[in-house]
Amino acid sequence: MTTPASPAAAQPASDAVKQAALNAVNRYAGQKGNLLPVLHDIQHALGYIPDDAVPVLSEALQLSRAEIHGVITFYPHFHSKPMAPTVLEMCRAESCQAMGANNLIDHARQKLGCDFHETSQNGQVSLEPVYCLGLCAQSPAVMVNGQPHARVTPAKLDKLLGEGA
């Protein structure tokens, strides 16, 4: 199970990354199919999953680098690059659209000067789409650094970002 490594993945991992990866592997040692919990753990510790964590995991979990890379890139929740200090997830789903989410999203794009999957011009906010937060009776909804906010208006969003950014 060998795969050609990308140049980034061939770099030796920094101590901090290696430590975070091995800690995660140890924490979930013995649990079957534990790659997702391990990746969550690394992202929790470092804020993202650096490319150089992949070879460490590959060896520790006896999985090919391609498999691990494939899993990281399949799931929108996992990030291979650092995120801004404030992560703003805005719901794009039907219920929020029925209550003006598209206008709210346009407002955010304009204010932050960036689109989805990008970081604001001042580097403080990462804007991510999300498809339902389960707050559909109080649409539109957003999540700021994991905290849910419902019935969001452009003014309320400005206030949230003012505190977070």
Partner: protein
Amino acid sequence: MTNITFYVPQDAAALAVGANDVVTAIQAEAKKRQLMVNIIRNGSRGMLWLETLVEVVTPEGRVAYGPVEADDVPGLFDAGWHEGKPEHSLYHGLTEDIPYLKKQQRLTFARVGIINPLSLEDYQAHGGYEGLKKALSMAPEKIVEEVTESGLRGRGGAAFPTGIKWNTVLKAQADQKYIACNADEGDSGTFSDRMVMEGDPFTLIEGMTIAGVAVGATYGYIYLRSEYPQAADVLNKAIAIARETGWLGNDIQGSGHAFDLEVRIGAGAYICGEETSMLDSLEGKRGQVRYKPPLPALKGLFGKPTVINNVISLASVPIILAKGGAYYRDFGMGRSKGTLPFQLAGNLKQGGLVELAFGITLRELLYDFGGGSASGRPLRAVQVGGPLGAYLPESQWDIPLDYESYMKVNAMVGHGGIVAFDDTVDMAHMAEYAMEFCAVESCGKCTPCRIGAVRGTEVIQKIRQDHQREQQVHLLRDLCDTMLSGSLCALGGMTPYPVLSALEHFPQDFGLEAAPAASQA
């Protein structure tokens, strides 16, 4: 000085509108007034337009005030809410008597919002673990029979009879079997799984344990979406309590039965709500759809026989065992037995959770419960059953909500999510969004879904821009036909439902004549 007891929900829907600030304000104001208060964090009653809904315990019962914001708290104390007085404009009287709640038939949600979610004493005082106690004294075949008798069908959307699924796993021979709970509630307009997990987590744990005892599975997984961090927290705490008190573990309450479980967090992929994708994700892989057969009931998680049920299906099992299959079956109509927690969402004045027997109509839900549109404009289209469900025009709002009646009009009840739109909606835009959503979330395994959704988005864009419109409409119908019959799972296979229903019922939004023939189907 006697203690005043307040209930302030810890449900994400309450947190999202400032429930924690309300708690802080109550504590600060009580201190100022030298009042002793006891604040219990409950689940939500499901009247979500009233969140944060604060309840005060009085000798007559729990009195409701809502929607309360932190700034309202001093005024509420001035008006004597701590004695349940009616002087404040946010006063709603006894919670139990609020019509929205009173008119419901709560079986699965019987305890949600009433109890402290993490109090095992509260849980048992309200009938919790009665079902499992009964199951522990029964032969596995008898437990499965009881569930079959109840008529319970999978509440995740596919509506497959739960008892038949359990029986297949029971009869399978294997050294290990699993219970996998699908808590990847990704459909827009749905939140009943979240509410039950946050408001009554022991019900789900009990239901999974009963399933384990019934089919001979000793381990379970709750596959929970990453968008629900509050639910993860509550579930993990409840599981720890169940283990400490012998309701999970190697010898459940001295019965000799073993069952334990863990929560696994997904990572933002909608497709992992499809049962075989979920299995791959639980195994630590990309969440890609598997071919069937083999059925997961025979060869599921890690290749072993696996019961896969939705949260609401499993959370309905305890009451079925406690009160008997016949009790549950006597709610509902036709082949749709029992109750469904409908979720009213989108542009409605009174959004929330409404558990009722099958057979109610959309119109009753939208107006009698939902109170009409939030915007004050006329309602125009309603999507039922999530992003893969059809859009229903007003002419279809009187069809009784049951699985078969909805199937007859190419719609689906699904997970019971109801999203209302007012007359400002552009249905051609919603159709384009349905295709775009499928393109974003496709796992990529089968061509009709992976390529079809991208082409579908383009085709609808061309129709909207009047680019060879007639020809593109023909192409769109053809493409939908391919997706419907050629996709590996429901994502590609059902995306045509919202698309075609929008096209059939709202042709003018696509720049087409509202021909009488087009309004059929």
